[in-house]
Point group: C2
């Protein structure tokens, strides 16, 4: 049976969202059978209660369990033409749990799709460098108890910019054949007690940002020099890289669309 | 039976700690019977495993359930004279759950007591002002969806500085007869999307900072003028104030001792 909302056989609106969430409680973005808690599942339930019919919420990035989002892109279609956008946003936001927020909602052309229409994404990985655990940031940062050489990490990060085969930074579970991607920007910089690794690109392989970060941490600790990146890009062998950094430090910061980026304040 | 460690009948060290915690999972600071999770209980268990005997950890402030600490003061006595302080701190910190951190440990004179020796404390209340819930800050800030007039709040806050009878800001559960306290500093200021209420004083009544904040929020929303504070200080009647602000926005920032403040970076 075809879904009349999704097929477009009834009048409908395509609603575009920017969503933020704390990933700690969730088994990732992607809907799973009850009672497994997912971000997509919670959003779909909340919006269903507001528009009065089941919806499918497409997300730009299928973040893993424990990964956070500051500006996740999403869209859904509704046949409810009556409810004003701001009321819809406010009502759906209030029906989501406290660790999921709907930051904005606006109408989009019918062919807009949060994932297919996206030109790129920016991720940030937060490393907290201090002797003691950061209690207020448990599950939000990776705690590194030893100093990191940020200059070496920045040098290494810059070597990732451009179009490369990132097979060496992909999880062995990566299914896609074409592992070439374009990284527009890759930086490592100090922010108080933290080192932030920020990566913008047209697409990412499975666990790519966490594998990049794990490798940069080893370089920052002095295990390898920055040229380790060149070796990895050439060998395309995951075993040449550092361990996969824990999910809790990773943030989907923003999504780039033809008309601009999801509205999250820049920073580094 | 007298505890030989606490009575001082055996050689012992008095260890002074600075502790930080995310209060969300805990039923407050104060130890309670198992299986109720408390900060004091977790710290005592962790330290016991390191020093090899049961300990009593005194805290400066008995924070309520859901209240956080950036620089809680604490101390305990141990007959373990062998383990170096830094090893003790590191081992006990690693045995605490991720949302409790032991930031520092140093030796103190035998008569030092985290609560009795304290000259004052600084609390901060974080109010997040934005149309959408702050998903990454659930349980860490109070979410206010309407604008606040920070100038009016700052005017009101300044009226609390000095020695006053704060009965009108105390919970009805407050047992102490003398409700006069000295507030050294009380400010309300904007920080990006947040308004911070910061209060430093020699002592605080039960729920006093949350009742001050609840009243300042009503003033910021325009329900009352700043002179409402004068009325409350005069009437000493809790019913003249605003609602008690939720615990999740409150932080014990630092403790003032004769030799300085617990080591937390200042800010506002």
């Amino acid at each position: 049976m075809t879904d009349p909302v999704e097929s477009g056989s009834v009048p409908r609106r395509n609603i575009r969202l920017v969503v933020s969430y704390d990933g700690r409680r969730f088994h990732g973005w992607q809907r799973q059978p009850e009672p497994i808690l997912t971000v997509q599942g919670c959003l779909e339930q909340a919006i269903c209660r507001v528009v009065g019919h089941p919806v499918t919420v497409n997300g730009t990035g299928r973040t893993d369990a424990g990964v956070h989002a500051l500006g996740q892109g999403a869209n859904f279609r509704t046949t409810n033409l009556a409810i004003p956008l701001d009321s819809l946003r406010r009502a759906a936001d209030s029906k989501c749990p406290g660790d999921i927020a709907i930051l904005s909602a606006r109408e989009a052309p019918d062919d807009f799709h949060a994932s297919i229409s996206a030109l790129g994404k920016t991720y940030r990985y937060r490393i907290h460098v201090a002797p003691a655990k950061p209690a207020m940031l448990a599950g939000r940062v990776y705690h590194c108890p030893v100093p990191l050489d940020v200059d070496l990490m920045a040098d290494a990060a810059a070597r990732l910019v451009g179009r490369h085969d990132f097979r060496g930074f992909a999880s062995s579970a990566e299914q896609r054949q074409d592992t070439r991607r374009t990284i527009r920007r890759c930086t490592a910089s100090a922010h108080g007690d933290e080192v932030h690794v920020t990566v913008s690109g047209d697409g990412f392989l499975y666990k790519m940002v966490r594998n990049i970060t794990g490798t940069l941490i080893e370089i920052g600790r002095g295990r390898w020099g920055p040229e380790r990146i060149d070796l990895l890009l050439a060998s395309r062998d995951r075993r040449d890289g550092g361990p996969t950094a824990l999910p809790g430090g990773l943030y989907l910061v923003s999504v780039l669309y033809p008309d601009g980026e999801t509205g999250v304040a820049g920073g580094d």
